[in-house]
């Protein structure tokens, strides 16, 4: 399934294709945010600058999917999806490499990598040993 890219998110997806993570930083309050959106969810102002983040963070919450709920994912189970809190502040949603059996737990340190699909690039994380 392809991401349904919109006017707000095009920069984010284009950057992933170049293996970079680019987020919006509010010009008024300087907070970073994700997902991309036309106003700051913390101060309500318009106006932002795109900044690159390092792709390091910690698992805030996670699920391990044992039974796929869509046909496209049947061959992937078990797989882990986590909310990752980046060192710079924002949280993103991403799969964590592996089946979650060892070392993949809440508060584990993770590092970004990029999975190139035919038409889009997925941000994924691996647990830092």
């Amino acid at each position: 399934m392809l991401p349904l890219v919109d006017l707000e998110s095009r920069g984010y997806w284009d950057a992933l294709r170049r293996h970079r993570i680019v987020l919006q930083r509010c010009d008024a309050c300087a907070r970073l945010r994700f997902p991309p959106m036309p106003g700051c969810p913390y101060c309500g102002r318009r106006g932002h600058t795109e900044v690159e983040v390092r792709g390091r963070g910690r698992i805030y919450a996670m699920v391990r999917v044992h039974r796929a709920l869509t046909p496209a994912m049947v061959g992937e189970v078990p797989y882990v999806v986590a909310v990752v809190e980046l060192d710079e502040g924002p949280r993103v949603i991403a799969r964590i490499d592996g089946d979650g059996s060892a070392g993949t737990h809440i508060d584990a340190a993770v590092s970004a990598r990029f999975v190139d699909h035919d038409d889009w690039t997925e941000l994924r994380f691996e647990v830092v040993a």
């Binding site: 991401p3 993103v92 979650g100 508060d107 889009w120």
Partner: protein, 383 residues
């Protein structure tokens, strides 16, 4: 004295796996049953309110047409899921108190099993693009995500989630309407495989085809009707800060261990003139088991991190200090998106709970919704 409002009747269709009927037919049956149950003439009903997700139901105008209602002062369709039932009952009560309508029927209808299944629908919205391509593609995953953090921070485990499912199944054994009625114990719960960890099948609601409705009237009118009124003592809706770009986008929510119940509780109790210690039973929205634990703590009915132990100790059973989800909940009765949770609350307050009627039923807390936003009611006896 300030005008007051009450739930005066409830109506249901059967809950089935395949209704072979139109959603409009189901909606009309449940609404007609609720109006009849209240003891009202259809001509007295001048408002209809409902909710739907991704157009899985029918507009109120269609229901008013099929029921032959002569004149509508309130037609209210909202684009919400399980956050809506208490919200709509609260809005109906406000409308009645303001003289905008006299008797409002609030319903939820859907072929939720044989037709579009909300749990796995791809929701519209700008947050969807970040979830679905990853295989993060069902509502149960979002609630499971919160549950993982809740259990982590509060030191809970599978036994805490299981206790919710087990306690509610015991009620369902006494509820002929419930879809899941076979007994459940901890061993059987733990033996079952995970669906999406930390949830097993018993932690998840069961989708059904069906409809449920309640009627809201002025308390003055209610006192002349067939059943004792279930007074709407308070209602509250709350969406916290940064509720997201669509109903599945929780990335900007700060604390997955606390949902909207934490935010609306003080407001709700103040409006009702009661506190958590006065609540005698609770009907807490439970599309998944974890939301009962988060709701018990959010409403102040249990202390932080104490809900799991409370449920494990039998605290929410029929003979416990705080019966919870006396119909078996959405986990066992079926997924009518919490409209049936409000209807059960009304039945209990009215003393019409049948084999599952609880002894103390004068003050009931009810909630609708699981995550960033939702609503709640305090229903009381006429006192």
């Amino acid at each position: 004295m300030t005008p007051r409002a009450a739930v005066t009747g409830v109506g249901y269709t059967a809950f089935t796996r395949r209704s072979e009927r139109s959603v409009l037919d189901l909606a009309a049956e449940a609404c007609a049953a609720a109006i009849e149950d209240a003891g009202l003439d259809r001509a007295e009903v001048d408002g209809v309110a409902s909710f739907m997700v991704m157009h899985d139901s029918v507009p109120c105008q269609a229901v008013a047409t099929v029921l032959g209602l002569p004149s509508q002062r309130l037609l209210l369709d909202v684009d919400l899921g399980g956050q809506a039932p208490c919200y709509l009952v609260g809005l109906a009560a406000a409308a009645v108190k303001a003289g905008m309508a006299r008797n409002v029927v609030v319903f939820r209808a859907m072929n939720g099993r044989s037709g579009g299944r909300v749990g796995t629908m791809q929701f519209d919205g700008m947050g969807a693009q970040y979830r679905y391509p990853l295989g993060y593609d069902a509502y149960l995953m979002y609630v499971a995500m919160w549950a993982s953090r809740f259990l982590y921070e509060t030191g809970g485990g599978p036994e805490d989630l299981g206790a919710v499912a087990i306690a509610q199944r015991a009620y369902a054994e006494r509820n002929a309407r419930a879809v899941r009625r076979e007994p459940l114990d901890l061993a059987a719960y733990l033996e079952a495989p995970y669906v999406v960890e930390p949830f097993r099948a018993a932690d998840c609601t069961i989708e059904v085809d069906g409809a449920c409705a309640v009627v809201v009237s002025s308390l003055d009118r209610a006192r002349d009707l067939r059943h004792p009124p279930a007074v709407v003592a308070a209602s509250a809706y709350r969406a916290g800060p940064r509720p997201g770009l669509d109903i599945g986008d929780h990335l900007l929510w700060g604390d997955y261990t606390r949902n909207y119940t934490s935010l609306l509780a003080a407001d709700l109790y103040e409006k009702a003139g009661v506190g958590p210690r006065d609540v005698q039973l609770a009907e807490i929205y439970d599309c998944f088991s974890s939301t009962v634990l988060i709701g018990l703590e959010g409403l102040g009915l249990c202390g932080r991190g104490e809900a799991g132990a409370f449920v494990r100790s039998g605290g929410t059973a029929a003979d416990g200090p705080l019966p919870v989800n006396t119909h078996g909940g959405l986990l066992a009765e079926g997924y009518l998106h919490g409209m049936n949770t409000v209807a059960e609350a009304a039945l209990q307050v009215q003393g019409r709970g049948g084999d599952r009627q609880v002894v103390r039923h004068d003050v009931c807390a009810v909630t609708s919704g699981a995550l960033m936003d939702g609503s709640a009611l305090i229903l009381t006896a006429d006192r």
